[in-house]
Symmetry: C2
Subunit: 236 residues, 2 copies
DNA sequence: TATCTAATATTGTCATACAAACTCGCGGTC
DNA sequence: GACCGCGAGTTTGTATGACAATATTAGATA
């Protein structure tokens, strides 16, 4: 028998939290692509909740910068420019190298084991070229590092950044050569962590994020170029 | 005649934005001290708005980490531990050294002039020992640096951090010797910016934030010690 | 005094309502 | 045929009222 459900902690079964994670997923997965307009009434129907809850959820996503307000107050899925992505990855590098250092220093055995397990799944998914799966597992890896770093603040700052680039990762990993390079990077990170070498882990994380950044920025710049050349009908 | 008012941009005259900034101010100023419970109905009365708006405002403040949910779903003003403050300042150092570098590289003449003006007011307030005023002007300085850095992402990430430590700054500046030291730090920053020396500006910012961090963390640790020794009635 | 219970308060959620701003298409005018 | 403006329909912002589920407080009782 499982005792998972016996937790005394408060029931997080809030309708709005449910709505938030549904919307987050929809955005991360690209179901609602960047720039897509989110109409409250439609979201109510899609989620089966009242406008009150939808609006509170939107406020939250708004301050997470997953959605943004258009000129005439419409809510649109945030568009991430190449510049934005470059900055996000720069900041992630700052934060997550720090985070993995702390992970090495502060994580307990269970956390390291769990991270290793995620890494294992990652390698497996990598060999199958399953992008969506891969992206999800990568997210979990980053998140576990953040949690193991045991800093509320780092987590709170870095986590929304992860969410913002989530949907980009799927495409960036499809960049030619990114996958194989990625494998080495993940291995290096995991290796350093298990060796307890914070410096090496941080460096591996930095290399990984710099490469990911390059791939994503390249992709976005290419997209923006083609978009510019065919900007017959812009607006929103 | 001033043309400021002729801007075409959308009217940000939203009740909820008003509510948010009122609440933010109340928290920054310490009117609602850390740990204080925020009751929706009371806020409605105090702000003269409906519960709808108050709740949306609270959701926003919540994802800015200015308020946090208690165990039984009460909304309380966030409590910042010494650990939190240390991390926030570490991250600020990362972000704002980067920001001031970009400010040096990217700001236009008007922005540099405006920053110099803020610096001047800062020096004046400093000589008067007016903490509240000083804190407000310091906030403006940081914010102008962030804006001049011309990075949406840096701004979005760093700004909430500023808000979170706002109310701490007033007390930290009251630490013995912090004021005089502060003056030199501000001067060094401004000097480097006007000389167009990004390295020196970044270093001055780093020094400034490290000193501020030390003062605030020391203060918080002292507070926590006394609080622990008299923790007869805790809870919330 | 300690404890149980009933009254009260608070939050989460929903359903409506309505004004203001905006969209879009229709019809009329030149 | 092009342009203008008007009106119906949308969408968002905000307020109000309602109600269940908890949480808190006060009161009554042993």
């Amino acid at each position: 028998m499982e005792y998972e459900d016996l937790r005394i902690v408060d029931t997080p079964s809030l309708v709005r939290d449910h709505a938030i994670s549904k919307l987050r997923n929809a955005i991360s997965s690209g179901l609602y692509p960047p720039g897509a307009r989110l109409v409250e009434r439609e979201l109510c129907e899609a989620l089966g909740v009242s406008r009150t809850s939808v609006r509170e959820a939107l406020r939250q996503l708004q301050s997470e910068n997953l959605v943004e307000v258009g000129r005439r107050r419409s809510i649109n899925v945030a568009v991430i420019t190449a510049q934005d992505a470059a900055d996000i990855y720069m900041i992630r590098e700052m934060l997550e190298t720090q985070a993995i250092r702390r992970f090495v220093a502060l994580s307990d055995d269970a956390e390291r084991k769990a991270l290793a397990a995620v890494h294992k799944r990652l390698v497996k998914a990598l060999s199958k070229n399953d992008m969506a799966q891969l992206s999800a597992i990568a997210s979990e890896f980053y998140e576990r590092v953040l949690i193991g770093a045991k800093s509320r603040v780092i987590y709170e700052v870095a986590r929304p950044l992860l969410a913002r680039v989530n949907y980009l990762r799927i495409r960036s990993m499809a960049e030619p050569g990114r996958l194989d390079g990625g494998l080495k990077e993940w291995d290096a990170m995991m290796d350093a962590v298990q060796a307890g070498d914070a410096d090496r882990a941080a460096e591996a994380m930095a290399v990984h994020l710099r490469n990911a950044r390059a791939a994503i920025v390249a992709r976005l710049e290419a997209d923006e170029k083609t978009a510019t050349s065919s900007k017959r009908k812009a607006a929103s």
